[in-house]
Amino acid sequence: MEPTADFLNIKDVSTAFKINGHYYDAITHVNLQVHHDEILAIVGESGCGKTTLATTIMGLQDPSETKITGEIDFEGTNLLALNDDQYNQYRGAKIGMIFQDPLSALNPLKRIEDQISEVMTYHTTLTSDQKHQRVLDLLDQVGIVDPKRTARQFPHELSGGMRQRVIIAIAIACKPDLIIADEPTTALDVTIQAQILDVLRAIQQENHAGIILITHDLGVVAETADRVAVMYAGQIVEEGSAQQIFDTPEHPYTRSLLRSMPQRGNENDDLYVIRGNVPSLQKMPQSGDRFAPRIPWVPASAHEANPTMHQVAPGHLVRCTCYRNFAFPDQALKEGRAQ
């Protein structure tokens, strides 16, 4: 297995939800590759489709409520062509998932040990003694001090950080090649967040896994990710290495987000505010540049009719390059401030 080969190739995937009998795209024509040994961060604000992308890869969408097109090529298999039973051979075994809210993600009535060993029941041939030992090893690996005690406990007896460690233990129990972490630290304190991110990074190095880290927190991205994809309104608008995204951002949305972050030194300035709002699912424009209404200083004629991803540097892709001709004007900054 080539350490840097694409093992997950998302090709032109769209996921539409049924609302009042009509289908609306939550994500539109997403193309992404994930490599072994990397952390790919997907950033964006609520409603941008980042969680939908995660659940689409995991096959967790209810088929009667969603319409998914495109192809998700995972180690040579198109996941989207599998039925539920076939998908179950991948879920938990080759793809693990970490959830945002560690309390509700655990069954309140089952002991921690049972919740971790359940995943091994379906994907390994371990005996119950071996599973017990593996549970203790996993709890130790995710940094739980007294694995024997914790294994016997129920979720409500653990702190938020401990629960998230348990969720991670479940996700890595079968040494998956791909781990999808959906806002894994949003519910946690900063010091715990740092520890959880350390655990994730250690696991990625140990298992040579690829990790998709979904988050709205740019700080977490800057500290953890190797590559970054920025999503806006169901589309990826910019993709590149962490360095490229934070040091030479191209898309006005990425640039706006970075400017609206409180940072050392800008205490006396107002923060940058993006004009307008994210369009709702039902009102999403079907063609044209979805970010155009929020950057009125770029004339309509300058936008591409249907913006596509352009390579601006090796590995650095941005949707529509017309912005390069229109610098972020101070005028716009002031207008944003006035809101």
Partner: protein, 319 residues
């Protein structure tokens, strides 16, 4: 855990005492006196007065209450005026019949309600769910006694499949015939009672299953690659049955109260029928005893619910 249960049982003590005081005061407030009807109506009022005094009926109420409680513990609940029989013996005979009916009805209720609720929740929005929901709405809308009367009319008179009165056939001689006859008599009332009793459980269970289906821990189980049928078995059913199990205690009290209707309509000689008859004949000693018994049974039902909940829910179980 045992501490919690013991504490819960101890809480019942003051409840029972308050209940007994209320029942006692209720009995005192009723018109007439214990001798009305048992002595010559033309007797001398002075003699009656003397009798009352002899029996302590002019004592302060707490002394009288104390006597009453002492009698209670000796199993002496007084004499039924209507049946001329000790209340204790009278009720004991009727209670057996009621126990048969409500016990069987309860088993039927759960045997019907659990599969229906789970099935409706699992196939939410599909045809079986719609059918079950229509069934629960219709049953919910029709008053219970109408269901009973309709049941008797259709299955008892029109088809003649079931007996419509009594608790046992007089022809039953052998042990087996006795049991058979008993079941034959309680079958129709128990089924009708169960049909009515399922409504709440089905609707409650259905929404529990639907909630569990959408819960985050079920999504986690899906992400583990657990097959759907196992998710239902290991996660959804167990978690949605928990509140239903706790509900069991309360539902006993519901069934007991429902048995008052059932027994009256079916002329089934249980406690419920006795209660209704005693009210129409103003048989106060029996009424007081039954109110006390029903009250204690209700308290026991809620106690049972709390104990079940303590046993099955780890969030309460842990001290």
């Amino acid at each position: 855990m045992w501490k919690t249960i013991l504490r819960r049982i101890l809480i019942m003590v003051p409840e029972v005492i308050i209940l007994s005081i209320l029942v006692f005061l209720l009995a005192k407030a009723m018109p007439g006196d214990p001798f009305t009807g048992s002595i010559n109506p033309k007797a001398d009022p002075a003699q009656l007065h003397h009798l009352m005094k002899l029996n302590g009926l002019y004592d302060p109420w707490y002394q009288q209450y104390w006597h009453w409680v002492v009698h209670l513990f000796h199993g002496n609940l007084g004499q039924s005026y209507q049946y001329q029989e000790p209340v204790t013996r009278l009720i004991a005979g009727r209670a057996t019949n009621t126990l048969w009916l409500t016990g069987f009805s309860m088993i039927l209720t759960y045997a019907l309600a659990l599969p229906m609720g789970v099935f409706a929740g699992r196939h939410e929005g599909k045809l079986p769910d719609t059918v079950i929901r229509v069934y629960t709405y219709v049953t919910y809308c029709i008053p219970f006694f109408v269901i009973l009367v309709l049941g008797i009319w259709i299955f008892g008179y029109v088809f003649g499949w079931f007996p419509t009165t009594g608790s046992i056939s007089t022809n039953a001689t052998t042990w087996l015939q006795t049991i058979g006859s008993r079941f034959y008599h309680i079958l129709l009332p128990a089924i009708l009672g169960a049909l009515f009793g399922t409504v709440n459980i089905v609707q409650y269970l259905r929404s529990e299953v639907i909630d569990a289906k959408r819960s985050d821990y079920v999504r986690t189980a899906r992400a583990k690659g657990v097959p759907r049928k196992d998710i239902y078995r290991h996660h959804i059913f167990r978690n949605s049955l928990l509140p239903i199990a706790a509900f069991a205690g309360y539902s006993i009290t519901g069934l007991l109260n429902g048995s008052i209707f059932t027994e009256t309509v079916f002329s089934y000689p249980g406690m419920g029928l006795l209660f209704v008859n005693s009210i129409s004949y103003r048989d106060y000693t029996v009424i007081t005893a039954l109110v006390l018994i029903y009250g204690i049974l209700n308290l026991l039902g809620t106690l049972l619910s709390d104990i079940i909940l303590t046993l099955v829910d780890p969030r309460i179980r842990i001290e």
